[in-house]
Symmetry: D2
Subunit: 425 residues, 4 copies
């Protein structure tokens, strides 16, 4: 049955890139002590013996460590790219050549290839799916209902994917357990905020080399990713405008010292626009029309639909590559709009994705979520499940330990106080 995948064991750009990939994977490993400890335990305990697992992820140095840990735990794992632009070809090569992990991912692959790789992954008849944006799960449900019987469960780490899983659940098609890894405090507090924050601005700077100090930066969305992006853009000296649809998040942005207004008002003010909403067409035709000449737009939300590039292309008299990852759309008015990273995740398109230190915790959650699914096989209801709180705390504890930081612990007296409601003023 798995013969197909066994036959064609990988599809990567160039296996000769493996040594560079190895060096970079090892570098990333320095900042991933939690996953390292988990991998060491997996190596002994083999929790995934006999388990077929597919992971649809950004193929980066950090993902490499997740894949290696899962394989160390006994999984028959294969890896495909969750995003055509984010694949690091040297990493893909190294995983195949040095670790014997089948990878199907080529940077810049077209949509057909991407969908073919999803099919190849599903051909592996997975017991566990690690998904990123819920494309693989959606395909499974729509096209391979018969394979659901094989499935123990899935994990998902993006906000976007969780929104889709909720919609699937509402529509009654989520007939297996899915673990919401994004929900873990050690995931979204860190990865979505500090990770997206730094790497998004890093992507913008690599793509443009512009000075952020003094620029007006419009951040669309003030969820955890938007908070991180706004915080870092301010940390680099920019003046921030936030757009939101949720009133509570909007007041939070106001009290954090940012201006809040609708995109229609922000459009003529911004020098740089960053979308992190998880929704589509947050910047669209009517907004491009009123932007300053040379305004830059980019996206750091999961899918490349937050900016309506079709509308922009429809208006443009000329589209010109002006730097790597940087295209200028000339409008009939003579003004231009500059699009970074083709509207795909700018931190993966123009930079290297989230730094290893945050992915350490996110992927520790992924690894332990998979183990949780296996350990609780048959016991979990269909639908969305949270990561158990003690798993979450344990990851935090391992991380602090690796940083050499110790904490206070409750005295017996304090424990008693916490448990008592009769002690008063």
């Amino acid at each position: 049955m798995t013969a197909t995948t066994t036959k064609q064991k990988h599809e990567v750009k160039d296996l000769s890139l493996a040594p560079i990939g190895k060096q970079r994977i090892e570098w990333a490993g320095r900042e991933m002590p939690v996953l390292k400890q988990i991998r060491d335990r997996f190596e002994k305990e083999k929790p995934f013996a006999g388990i077929r697992l597919i992971a649809c992820c950004h193929v980066t140095t950090e993902t490499a460590h997740l894949a290696i840990a899962l394989k160390a735990g006994g999984a028959d794992a294969i890896l495909i790219a969750s995003n055509p632009l984010s694949t690091q070809d040297d990493v893909a090569a190294c995983l195949v050549a040095d670790y014997g992990i089948p990878v199907f991912a080529i940077k810049g692959e077209d949509n057909d290839t991407y969908h073919r790789h999803v099919q190849t992954a599903l051909d592996h008849r997975p017991n566990i799916i690690i998904d990123d944006g819920s494309d693989v799960v959606a395909t499974l449900i729509q096209e391979r209902q018969h394979q659901i019987a094989d499935l123990i469960g899935t994990t998902e780490e993006t906000t976007t994917g969780i929104v889709r899983l909720r919609a699937m659940h509402r529509d009654g098609v989520l007939t297996f357990p899915a673990v919401n890894v994004n929900d873990a405090d050690t995931k979204h507090f860190f990865d979505n905020r500090y990770g997206t924050g730094q790497s998004t601005l890093d992507g913008v700077i690599r793509a443009t080399n512009v000075l952020l100090a003094g620029k007006t930066v419009v951040v669309a969305g003030y969820g955890w990713c938007g908070k991180g992006t706004a915080m870092r853009a301010r940390g680099l000296g920019a003046n921030i405008i936030v757009t939101e649809i949720d009133p509570t998040k909007a007041i939070e942005a106001v009290m954090d010292g940012f201006r809040v207004m609708p995109m229609a008002e922000a459009a003529p003010l911004g020098d740089l626009f960053i979308t992190v909403t998880g929704n589509k067409h947050v910047i669209r035709g009517e907004h491009f029309d009123v932007m300053k000449d040379g305004a830059m737009v980019c996206n750091s939300g999961h899918f490349d639909i937050e900016i309506d590039l079709k509308a922009l292309a429809g208006k443009a008299t000329e589209v010109k590559q002006v730097r790597n990852f940087t295209q200028e759309y000339r409008l009939p008015s003579g003004k231009s709009v500059v699009v970074l990273g083709e509207g795909r995740l700018i931190n993966l398109a123009a930079a290297e994705g989230h730094p290893s230190a945050v992915m350490d915790m996110s992927f520790a959650n992924q690894a332990l979520a998979c183990e949780y699914l296996v350990t609780n096989k048959g016991k979990l209801e269909p639908g969305l499940h949270s990561i158990p709180v003690d798993v979450d705390k344990e990851i935090a504890r391992l991380k602090l330990q690796a940083m050499g930081i110790s904490l206070d612990s409750l005295t017996p007296d304090q424990i008693e106080y916490t448990n008592s409601w009769t002690a008063g003023t």
Copy 2:
């Protein structure tokens, strides 16, 4: 039965302070547009007609607006102080003299008086209790089980009180519904963070007039209150050390750029210590012993037990008032420790408590939580209940409206996208 309270309609310091109180209450009202809109509606709808209500709160200008709104809604309401040091005598006087609301609160009242006022309040046979720290509810349960039949429910807005209610629930004594107002996003995101943040530092500065720039400030606890306190202390130029018992919060503090260590390590480094943990004896004998000469300690957690003042007094050779709200404890070593506000909430002891703008939302939650209890009388299970999400969002919406800020709203296309899981990459 209520005759007693009817007879002695109030116990305030000096009714002649009413005009000053009125002026200050009016001033606070400028920053409380949400509660104003709720009060206007209550005035028409009278949701509390026939309801006996007691509120145990810090008696401040903001609480005055809550009390006035409840009375406008038809409540037979009386007000007592939740904290002996926080009462603003002019406000108490004005509520009695100008609004006919019975108040039992005198700044600096001793513990006996405080407990007598709790009894007075309970003599009112409340249908609704607005509590702050759960002292009134604890007393009701311990001493007046027979009155529980009168009770529709209670509301609680402090983290400390919620911890106690959870303990009560665990012990099976919480036999009525309690609404967790602290849980509302429009409460804890704002009041606990921006409110406690600013007002705590304000209290410290009023008590000491020291320059915070360049000081090492140790913040014990990195919950919402601790986050706000650390953020504002940094905003004033201090160098922050955080102590924690929770690993996730600890990493968050680290990634926010703060040092994290146990109190035993922080004690010799700090110039100023601020406790916001909700636990007891967070700073204790062993810590005082190693502090710098002249180190300042204060508390901004609910109860005055976070600093072990008895241990400090036991060590001290001399205790001297060196400024208002500022006492110096001379230790045998010759060094001194300076205690601000007697270890009580420094923002209420030395300053004016949370600014009105945040209490506007917190008390809007209180007012609507009371209405929710009345509207759902008999339908809610015993135990803790959250504020309904739409109440929370509505408060945020009213607040933004009052600020003149508008938001984006989803286009039909975006709504469809949000609800669909089949649209992919």
Copy 3:
């Protein structure tokens, strides 16, 4: 001639306030280790023996330490208030009662009394004048040319005063040496930035108790005081707009992440306006007309002329005291403008002025500037003089020492490198 002052040795509000003043002066002393060391040396060396000295300063706990140090050095010193609103009556009382220093200063004294005190001070026939805003020096030049022969020199520490001294120099009337204390790095870097920054916001909060998070704060002027004010307002969560007349400072503000625009554009946007320009009528009639209802205006520049209060009063239909230090001017449009501290220095009117820790360095400069004048009597040209650089560095060194902070020092190798231009890439 000095008989008059000898006879009437002081004019303070109430000598019985001395004990409170003493306690507060001692408290301030904890944060003033540099001035303490200078005072100890003065006590031994008596550099001011036989010198008549007048100091026109804000009469605060910190100034008390300057006066005490000067007297310890042998000066026949008297003290008058530089600002009618900033006098702390308890400090004035203590200096007279406990230290035998003649003080002429009463909080809230009217202009006539203020000018009478300037005359009283000049009756003392000073050899040294410590001035603050150059009023005493201006009076001396205009009215008492014959006393200039007595004068060794003057010191001045405000930007405002320096601007006036430069104008005097231009007009050829500055016929004696004046030391520009404001010029010292240990003065303007700290006092004007960290001191004004914290204390201005402290004054605003004490006057209003408003939440600064989420407020739009307009800071007029981006000199050192403006930088400090903007930095602290942002640190408290406000969104800042800067107005400037100097293009270099304006770009600096932009690159610091602030919006910059003319006051006419900022007027309708601000919730709070703070002037720190040193110029007059920075906020004037045309600006009041377009402000939001309830906009607050205050000043933290030296003189109370930055806000054109006459123009505002001329428009107002009603002026009402709404809190201490807070007056509401009702305009015919129905909107109101709220003026804090009557447009006088808000940090001294509503709070306690600069924290001791910065005044320690500023007043160390004053004390050493006076000593410098005496030591170099007859050797200095008429006109403005800087504090010698080594005095400045020495003050910094003493301050760090008191903080327990040590620095690197150059290795012999590094010193050689610094002095050589032949060592290259």
Copy 4:
């Protein structure tokens, strides 16, 4: 005499890179409106007709615009690299191929080639030298005294170069005028602070991709470059330690909320070290010995001597390239030290140098300084000269204009007030 250079018109890596260089130069031009306006004027006025000019600069897209502007002004200009690692080969190619400007610069050129290029430049018999670090000027003085007669003057923009020029002046060998471009407010406030700040951290992130949030970053030196670096590292979530030798700067760092200590104490605490002192061996053997395993060190000061790499190499048992621009030195203890960019300017080695927006002002100063030298030929004393203040302000004004920001201007009333010293309280 110039025949030599005429014959060999350039030495660049590969002329076929010109189109890429052109695209990148055009991109940079978008952020350089001030230099553009100056170039347009130069084109008409030809201030450099008949002038031989050599520029020793980092060969970047921004420098290209300076060279183009000078040539537009009529200069017979040639360009050499001031730093072997910072040359952008595509830019060098484009300047030769598309603009006919002789360039002698190849990325990674060895020291011999570098010195040969300095000689080639001097063979051009320059009337004006734009230097960067004072190597060319030092060579001229040491080896070509006879050419000094040709020289109208030089300009210098680095702090390092200024220190060397001062030493030359002290030694009596600076026998011609040198304009201190670094002195201009529009240069050092912006380039040294915002430019170095962002680009240094950009270099670190490109070289390592590590998460800065939560890292302890040691910044050696708190001059303008150090302030910018510390500010941006904090803005990215790091915890900062500053080392200094100057007490005033040290207190400033303390009051900005940073820890200050000697390098010997900081060495075991840092995760990342950044030197910006202008001195040599700021990090040396004794410091490497006590660093954490994996500590990263880099330099953003002008010369590559701030880190004593020889000492480190002497200790190391192995040196390994672990990423581009990243080398790991394994010490006998088993711990490693990671060196970024070989200790050369990290922002130029691993990133793209200062963003165009700041270089716009710096190079506007360079261009106008050259014009100033020519206009005042024969009138300026030998030694260091400042940029005239009105040139400085004009650059700021042009920049703001290009940003679309307008300022307040003084009213006649305010001008009168500023000039008067008789108007008082």
